[in-house]
């Protein structure tokens, strides 16, 4: 098939001899040119369904490939359909893997994908992998297969170390972005920073906050000197504040800064007083995003005052600050849109946020003590204050030990723009701590009043009523997380029957049984996956279900990696997802695919 030359893409095939195109070809050419402008995935999927010609044209013009579940489709099928891909985003394990609910070696290996891409898309520019098991070999393979690679981002990945990073640093000559977010990186004792070439480079972003061991600081400082385009630098907690100073004075053009430990190397000595940290920050006039503060010495907080007014994103979620310390900073942050913080700041700290950050869109409040019976430092008081001050809020993640329906209801009314509402009352089955009622009405109000809501995580004492509300009003909900909730199977039925856009449903430790599977039948092909662990599903029901649904992969496994036994009353974990490929071949022994 003769391909046309694109202005931006590569030419495939021999140099064409000109013959006038037939009318169909003209139409397809026009279509392809128009489809280039279509970037939204959903729109593209719709366009591809119109007719064969549109399907082909769309497939040829899709340059951003998104694979939400690496097992939903295979490398051969994907590369066969999409021929001109320049960027790939792929996700592997389901989210509950983050909390230790999936035993090791479960899967999500990118290896076959990298091999396929190396053949099909040698011009690949961008690779983003999330929750995948990426080895050093994979990173080496990537570094050698894609000479045009300019963006490699790994989020929540594991199984690689500094040797893998070293391959990337030395071989990827076009690299602009190397971002490691929340990965587990092994210390192979290879100096990967030194592996960057001695020449000037194109680095724009270098993020390694998740690396939990020291790096070669002197090499980093020298690397900065040869990275004139660097805009985003996020260092790990082994970089001290005096070292940070040295980096900042070299790179005042930074827009995003991860500040490392934010504490001095030794006990504070008078010599450090000579370093004008405030001036260093003041010199960074383009700074809009700050993170790090891993072992913050609060005495240094005033250094960041000069940049606060320009900040749109601030991550204090590793900084043990009290309300007063936070207030001193936040009162300057009028333009803040994203804010992550620890609950040590208390309701009072949140009040300070609410009174200044009128443009806040995303708030995450993490607990310093992540145990069920810990003392919570924030409550409904903080939530209410935020709802009253930050009316533009779109996304909230809030960990607490005490909550009331009225505060949640208030938020549902004060913050109509909410897209993401994730409330985690850490003590299991906790009711409204003032009225002692279940939290049904609160969550009900959220789905009722926040008409744009796409993601919801529920907690606290919940009856089936809460789920009835979700099914009735949560028409745009795509992701739902449920834990220790509900009374009967009706709860999940409400949701599965009522939420047409439900894509991801993750449930744990709730009393839902086999009839849920039957009622989910018509909906499951529209969902990316269903996860149910520590519920009341029997193996025989799962088996029956797997038989009836050919394009679903039904995985069952136990927590302790023991063999799944017919004699067990209930299945530990069910992970079910749609797939065009059938059962995967790389599953470990403890996973039973029905």
């Amino acid at each position: 098939m003769r391909e046309n030359t694109r202005l931006d893409g590569p030419t495939i095939g021999p140099a064409p001899v000109y013959t006038p195109p037939c009318p169909d070809q003209v139409l397809e050419n026009v279509l392809e040119n128009v489809l280039h402008f279509l970037t939204c995935r959903k729109d593209r999927n719709s366009a591809s369904l119109v007719c064969k010609s549109w399907y082909r044209a769309e497939a040829l013009t899709r340059s951003d490939l998104f694979i939400g579940n690496c097992y939903a489709v295979g490398p051969a099928r994907a590369t066969e359909r999409f021929r001109r891909v320049k960027s790939v985003v792929m996700k592997g394990k389901p989210r509950f893997a983050d909390f230790g609910l999936i035993p090791p070696n479960w899967g999500a290996f990118p290896t076959p994908w990298i091999s396929a891409f190396a053949q099909a898309y040698p011009w690949l520019q961008k690779i983003h992998l999330k929750r995948m098991t990426v080895t050093d070999y994979d990173l080496q393979h990537i570094s050698l297969s894609f000479p045009s690679l300019n963006d490699l981002t790994l989020v929540c990945c594991e199984a690689f170390g500094t040797s893998g990073l070293s391959f990337l640093a030395s071989n990827c000559r076009q690299l602009r972005v190397l971002d490691l977010f929340e990965d587990e990186v092994n210390d192979d004792e290879v100096d990967w920073i030194c592996s960057f070439p001695e020449t000037e480079n194109n680095l724009e972003s270098l993020s390694f906050e998740c690396i939990d061991f020291p790096i070669n600081f002197n090499a980093l400082e020298k690397l900065l000197a040869r990275s004139p385009n660097l805009k985003r630098l996020r260092v790990n907690r082994f970089v001290t504040i005096d070292q940070l100073y040295r980096l900042m004075v070299r790179a005042p053009q930074l827009t995003h800064l991860g500040t490392g430990s934010f504490t001095p190397s030794e006990i504070w000595i008078p010599a450090h007083q000579d370093l004008d940290f405030g001036a260093a920050f003041a010199a960074c006039k383009s700074l809009v995003c700050l993170s790090g503060f891993r072992e913050i010495a609060p005495v240094f907080l005033p250094s960041i005052y000069p940049v606060c007014a320009n900040l749109t994103s601030l991550n204090f979620s590793y900084a043990n600050l009290n309300a007063e310390e936070l207030s001193s900073v936040i009162c300057h942050c009028h333009n803040l849109q994203t804010f992550w913080v620890l609950d040590t700041v208390g309701d009072e700290g949140l009040r300070a946020v609410a009174s200044t950050c009128k443009d806040l869109q995303e708030l995450r409040v993490f607990p310093i003590d992540a145990r069920e019976d810990s003392e919570g430092f924030v409550s409904e008081v903080g939530l209410l204050a935020i709802s009253e001050g930050c009316k533009k809020l779109r996304s909230i993640l809030y960990f607490c030990q005490r909550m009331t329906n009225s505060a949640v209801i208030a938020m549902s009314k004060n913050c109509p723009e909410l897209l993401v509402f994730r409330l985690c009352i850490m003590g299991r089955h906790r009711p409204d701590h003032i009225t002692n009622e279940p939290m049904d009405e609160g969550f009900g109000a959220i789905v009722m009043n926040c008409k744009k809501l796409t993601r919801l995580a529920v907690s606290g004492l919940l009856t089936d009523k809460a789920f009835e509300y979700i099914g009735q009003y949560g028409k745009l909900v795509r992701t739902l997380s449920v834990a220790f909730a509900g009374d009967s199977d009706m709860a999940l039925k409400y949701v599965l029957e009522g939420c047409p856009n439900l894509l991801k449903l993750e449930v744990r430790d709730s009393p839902f049984g086999d009839s849920v599977l039957r009622s989910s039948l018509p909906h499951l092909y529209n969902m990316r996956f269903l996860w149910m662990s520590a519920c009341r599903l029997t193996l025989s029901a799962c088996r029956q279900f797997a038989k009836e649904m050919p394009h679903l992969v039904v995985e069952v496994f136990t927590n302790g990696m023991e063999e799944v036994n017919d004699k067990d009353e209930f299945v530990d974990t069910l992970y079910m997802y749609r797939s065009l490929e059938g059962p995967r071949t790389d599953a470990p022994e403890y996973v039973k695919i029905l």
Binding site: E184, R294, Y318, H429, P511
Partner: protein, 183 residues
């Protein structure tokens, strides 16, 4: 349900029972909060993992849903914050017991002395009249530094002091005079 539990506690004291004084009447199992609510909600099917209900203090895996990376980092953060406290023992000559103070709470010598004076109900040689001091009835704060030497409090900059102070001793006036002469 919860109310009835509270009433039980109030009545226990006045309850008439058989048995020796000081013994509890058997197996009133201590029920935790989440148990109570399990029973108070009608129609709750018992959760599959029974043991999670009968001993709710057992931590469930992966709950609360915080990534283990963050959990581990915050352990470090918590420990660090604790280490940015600086508790040192404070002894007072003639007093039978010691006290402990957190040096990081004070930003200079003035605040520290004030706190010590309040805690031990004395007046330091610097602030009281010279005569009382000469009589040896007053106390002078001294400290043991990193090298094990006893120093007079107040000679070095505050930052250096808190970096090197290992313990404090409120020395009796006469003894302190000797130190002062040496300083």
């Amino acid at each position: 349900m919860e109310n009835s539990n509270i009433n039980l506690c109030y009545h226990e004291d006045t309850e008439l029972r058989l048995g020796l004084p000081g013994t509890k009447n058997g197996s009133e199992k201590k029920r935790s909060f989440s148990e109570i609510n399990e029973e108070s909600t009608s129609g709750v099917e018992q959760c599959h993992d029974d043991h999670l209900i009968s001993q709710p203090k057992v931590q469930a895996i992966g709950w609360p849903p915080i990534r283990s990376y963050r959990k581990n980092c915050l352990q470090v953060t918590k420990a660090h914050k604790e280490s940015t406290r600086m508790y040192v023992k404070v002894s007072m000559d003639g007093a039978p017991y010691l006290r402990k103070i957190d040096l990081k709470l004070y930003k200079d010598y003035k605040e520290l002395l004030k706190a010590l004076e309040e805690m031990f109900k004395f007046k330091s040689g610097k602030s009281s009249n010279k005569e009382a001091f000469r009589n040896g009835s007053e106390y002078e704060p001294t400290y043991e530094d990193k090298d094990g030497d006893w120093m007079l409090v107040g000679d070095v900059p505050w930052d250096m002091f808190i970096a090197s102070c290992k313990r404090l001793r409120l020395m009796k006036g006469c003894e302190a005079k000797r130190l002062a002469c040496l300083a």
